[in-house]
């Protein structure tokens, strides 16, 4: 069938018109006329104006165009505008190409002749390219709204609670035999001192009683396949690995949480050399179980040292919450008895939240000494340290509490392999983009929350959970389909040699391997269309649906004429 290509040049008022000879352009594009191609060159004062859009919409129909080239401003300004017009006048929007003769010609080239020349080159390139473009269609796919949450700590619980409802079921799995994670031991919560321990208890009760949340204790993930909206998951019992559950869900939330790193692993601590050196978590436990903090002898400590930032230099990250909870603990002692002398040794105070500084001031008021140090060494229950003033000191304490760094829960690495999400240099799960997408991962539909992503307090962990539920609620709407990217890659079976190069270079997990045929395949639901895989393929086995090599060559060669 004969191609009829409309070439619409927008004068953009004088912006383009005054900078080049529009008519010359219209004349020159006719050179593409041939027995199988007809060019319809038309100029318009301002295509993006209301009248302009209307004109274009009608003209496409009237002229029965098969392809459309619009030479105007930058596609960034109006690509969407004109694609919508194509849709309105039932021309497949992928049979249209926009040429930028304003920002990249009119506005950068003062010489009218030269500008015209360049515009012609551009437009010609577009014309010969558009002929090689093909129709593309959105294909909607069904999506399951249900969600799997891995980890029964506070982040996991919050995720489940904020997601579950009649239309969206949640499956919550927990490795251990009880919910709540580390937080169940906290006597009090940060940031505000008001919230009491039963805050967690309430949450646990809430989640257990929610009929839309199915909880599997002592259960772990065995296998997960799929992508946003369609995951097939196999769960298994921790103790009896053959005891399996298979479920279909639309999204997965990883909330595996943290553990305190073992202080003995750090050079400046001799932990447990004296019975009276404790980690912050041990103190929390003791306090919430016994209601008192006592020495192993059973008597109350007279002097207590709280040491911040133990092992920070080794781990190469700040755990963010230690300064805060160490002050909280300091106040535990003061509550217990004003007599207890409490010294806090710190290098830098990390008080990132607006209420933290107040806590610090109050703790000071409460009679807790704060000592800024350069270096510290804990020998049994004696502390050697160098103050910020350079002086070396040595003191004995009845009790020493250290704040070791938060580190990823044991088994994180293992899980990362099963679920195929990379870990960062510290062993936490790697978010897809730290600033703009801290809860997303390389696999669309798998999210990370709480301390699985990095050290943070309960409050921020819960916010993360809500953030993820915000995303899931807006992306997986019960009863609605999802529309994946249209401009994707595709693999030509006959030519693929299955070398997996494309699979390696794709960072969206959008390419999988067909073991039976021994070839790679594209998962269009995950493909973002960057085209990396195509350039990586030495053969002609992968093509981009909207940026085919052919199209680009046509453009190049035409432009080089």
């Amino acid at each position: 069938m004969k191609k009829k290509i409309g070439v619409y040049v927008c004068e953009c008022g004088p912006n383009i018109a005054s900078k080049m000879h529009i008519d010359k352009i219209l004349e020159s594009v006719k050179s593409h006329n041939s027995e199988d191609v007809e060019i319809v060159p038309i100029k318009h004062k301002l295509l993006c104006s209301v009248q302009g859009k209307k004109f274009l919409e009608e003209d496409i129909k009237k002229q029965e165009l098969t392809h459309l080239v619009v030479a105007a401003c930058s596609p960034r300004e109006h690509n969407t505008t004109f694609m919508n017009i194509c849709k309105k006048s039932d021309l497949n929007p992928y049979l249209y190409k926009m040429i930028n003769i304003r920002e990249q010609v009119a506005w950068v080239i003062p010489d009218k002749e030269k500008a015209t020349e360049k515009a012609i080159q551009y437009i010609n390139g577009g014309i010969s390219r558009v002929q090689y473009q093909g129709e593309l269609f959105e294909n909607k796919i069904d999506a399951i709204p249900d969600v799997l949450v891995i980890g029964g700590g506070i982040s996991g619980i919050e995720s489940a609670l904020s997601l579950a409802n009649e239309k969206r079921k949640v499956v919550l799995i927990e490795k251990t035999d009880k919910l709540g994670g580390n937080s169940v031991f906290y006597k009090k919560l940060l940031p505000r001192q008001g919230a009491e321990k039963d805050f967690i208890a309430k949450k646990i009760a809430e989640v257990t009683n929610n009929k839309n949340i199915k909880i599997h204790l002592e259960t772990e993930l065995e296998e997960i396949l799929g992508f946003l909206g369609n995951f097939e998951v196999t769960l298994r019992n921790v103790n009896n690995k053959d005891n399996k559950i298979e479920i279909k869900i639309g999204a997965t939330i990883v909330a595996t949480g943290f553990q305190l790193s073992n202080p003995t692993s750090f050079k400046n601590v001799k932990y447990k050399e004296s019975d009276e050196v404790y980690t912050s978590l041990e103190i929390e436990k003791m306090f919430s179980e016994k209601g008192k903090i006592l020495l192993s002898s059973g008597s109350e400590p007279k002097t207590v040292a709280l040491v911040h930032c133990v092992g920070k230099d080794e781990k190469k990250y700040c755990s963010q919450i230690c300064c805060n909870y160490m002050m909280k603990i300091a106040n535990y002692f003061k509550e217990q008895s004003k007599e207890i002398k409490v010294k806090e040794f710190y290098k830098d105070l990390c008080l990132p939240n607006k209420d933290d500084e107040k806590l610090f001031r109050d703790t000071e008021k409460n009679g807790v000494d704060f000592v800024r140090i350069k270096d510290i060494d804990i020998q049994g229950n004696e502390i050697k340290y160098t103050g910020i003033n350079g002086k070396n000191e040595k003191t004995k304490f009845d009790m020493i509490v250290v704040a070791p760094p938060i580190e990823p829960k044991a088994g994180t690495k293992n899980l990362s392999q099963i679920i195929d999400i990379p870990l960062d240099e510290f062993g936490f799960f790697q978010e897809v983009h730290q600033t703009t997408n801290p809860t997303g991962t390389a696999t669309d539909g798998v999210f990370i929350v709480g301390t699985a992503q990095g050290p943070k307090g309960i409050s921020n962990s819960m916010l993360m959970s809500q953030a993820v539920s915000g995303k899931i609620k807006t992306q997986l709407i019960p009863g609605e389909k999802i529309i994946p990217e249209v401009k994707t890659s595709e693999i030509l079976e006959a030519y693929c040699m299955g070398c997996k190069t494309c699979l390696e270079v794709c960072c969206f997990g959008a390419i999988y391997f067909d073991e039976i045929k021994g070839i790679s395949r594209v998962n269009e639901a995950l493909c973002r269309g960057c085209g990396n895989c195509i350039a990586s393929c030495p053969s002609e086995a992968i093509r981009h649906k909207h940026f085919t090599s052919e199209q680009l060559f046509q453009e190049v060669i035409e432009i080089l004429k």
Binding site: Y495, G498, C499, K500, T501, E504, P538, S539, E540, A541
Partner: protein, 366 residues
């Protein structure tokens, strides 16, 4: 130091005896090796499963009808152990192919040897094959590479197998015809040899000797690169070299690295409408037909040069007699260098285009 099987018969017989033992005891299911297929010395690669047929093998024949890595690809992954007797560069070729999932090391026990080089097909397949071959083996008892081998062989520094399970000393081995030494480099190999009654000693390659060979090869390389050195500026030199290319793409078809079903450069991307050609003509005095002769060569370099193991197969089959492999070897070394990459050195090593480092080439891009 590695375990070495010593047998006091000439190397070929020794190896043969070992193989016969393994095959008859079903330690292995087959042997892939060069074999004589007629009286005038023609060899091809055979996968032999019968003890009696083993007699025909010519494990050390200085010829490469096909780069064996192609064949190994087609018979792997093997369900039962197979011994493959191949040249060092064929082994490296296979490793490169395995990296590209074009084959598997599973159940393949590789036997390779210090290689004196390969004779061009024509030289080898000539009527006085016998004479030529015996001269060849005479020469390589010493440390000199025979003059009549493939040009790249004279310049090859990797004549010692890199990842072979079993290594046999051939090049520079004066006792080649009296003793045979099989070096068992890997657990797999040692396991195999368990059941074989023989004297086993601890021994390693004669480094002094190898260095001497290496020195000579390095000199050979310099010589070769001098011959193909770029003297003219820009394209002209390249056109001089590849100007006579007839575009048969034989080089890519026999190349162990070129593994594509359809080569990009044979794809429809490069069929031009006549008006495009006519238009190009309007800017030039003349236009070559078929087009893209140089494009193909540069393109192929870009696709696989960093994996080029310099086996010389391409040069051998080139009907136009272009020094293809010499060029590829030279360019390949420069591209591989970028990533401190040595093709065929290690199956675990990832090919450069499959991975990235955030901190590299900081100078690029400004």
């Amino acid at each position: 130091m590695s375990k070495v099987i010593k047998i006091d018969i000439n190397s070929k017989q020794g190896l043969l005896d070992f193989l016969e033992h393994l095959l008859s005891n079903n330690e292995i299911s087959g042997v892939m090796s060069l074999r004589k297929i007629n009286e005038n010395g023609i060899c091809d690669y055979g996968l032999i499963t019968e003890v009696d047929d083993l007699k025909s093998i010519e494990p050390f024949a200085p010829v490469m009808p096909v780069n064996a890595s192609h064949i190994l690809s087609s018979i792997t992954p093997a369900k039962k152990p197979i011994i493959a007797i191949i040249k060092p560069c064929e082994l490296r070729g296979f490793v490169e192919r395995v990296k590209r999932k074009q084959g598997s090391m599973k159940n393949i026990i590789t036997v390779s040897y210090t290689c004196g080089g390969v004779l061009p097909l024509n030289t080898f397949q000539s009527d006085d094959n016998e004479k030529i071959v015996s001269e060849y083996f005479e020469t390589i008892k010493g440390t000199d590479t025979p003059e009549n081998v493939r040009p790249v062989c004279k310049a090859c520094e990797h004549f010692i197998p890199m990842t072979a399970d079993i290594t046999i000393s051939v090049f520079g081995n004066k006792d080649f015809n009296s003793k045979s030494c099989l070096m068992m480099n890997t657990e797999q190999a040692i396991k195999l040899s368990k059941s074989y009654k023989c004297e086993i000693v601890e021994k390693k390659m004669d480094d002094k000797l190898m260095d001497e060979i290496l020195k000579k090869r390095k000199a050979g390389k310099e010589k070769l690169y001098k011959e193909i050195a770029i003297t003219k500026d820009g394209l002209d030199e390249f056109v001089d070299i590849f100007g006579k290319c007839i575009g048969c793409h034989g080089c890519s078809r026999v190349c162990p690295i070129c593994y594509c079903t359809l080569c990009d450069f044979e794809s429809s991307n490069y069929d031009y409408k006549v008006d495009l050609i006519e238009n190009e003509l309007s800017q030039k005095d003349g236009l070559r037909l078929p087009p893209d002769t140089i494009f193909f060569q540069l393109g192929r370099l870009n696709h696989m040069s960093f994996s080029c193991i310099g086996c010389g197969q391409c040069e051998d089959v080139c009907p136009a007699g272009i020094p293809v492999s010499s060029i590829f070897k030279k360019v390949g070394e420069s591209t591989a260098e970028l990533f401190d990459y040595i093709p065929g050195k290690d199956v675990e090593e990832i090919i450069p285009v499959m991975m990235i480092k955030e901190q590299e080439f900081p100078e690029v891009g400004e």
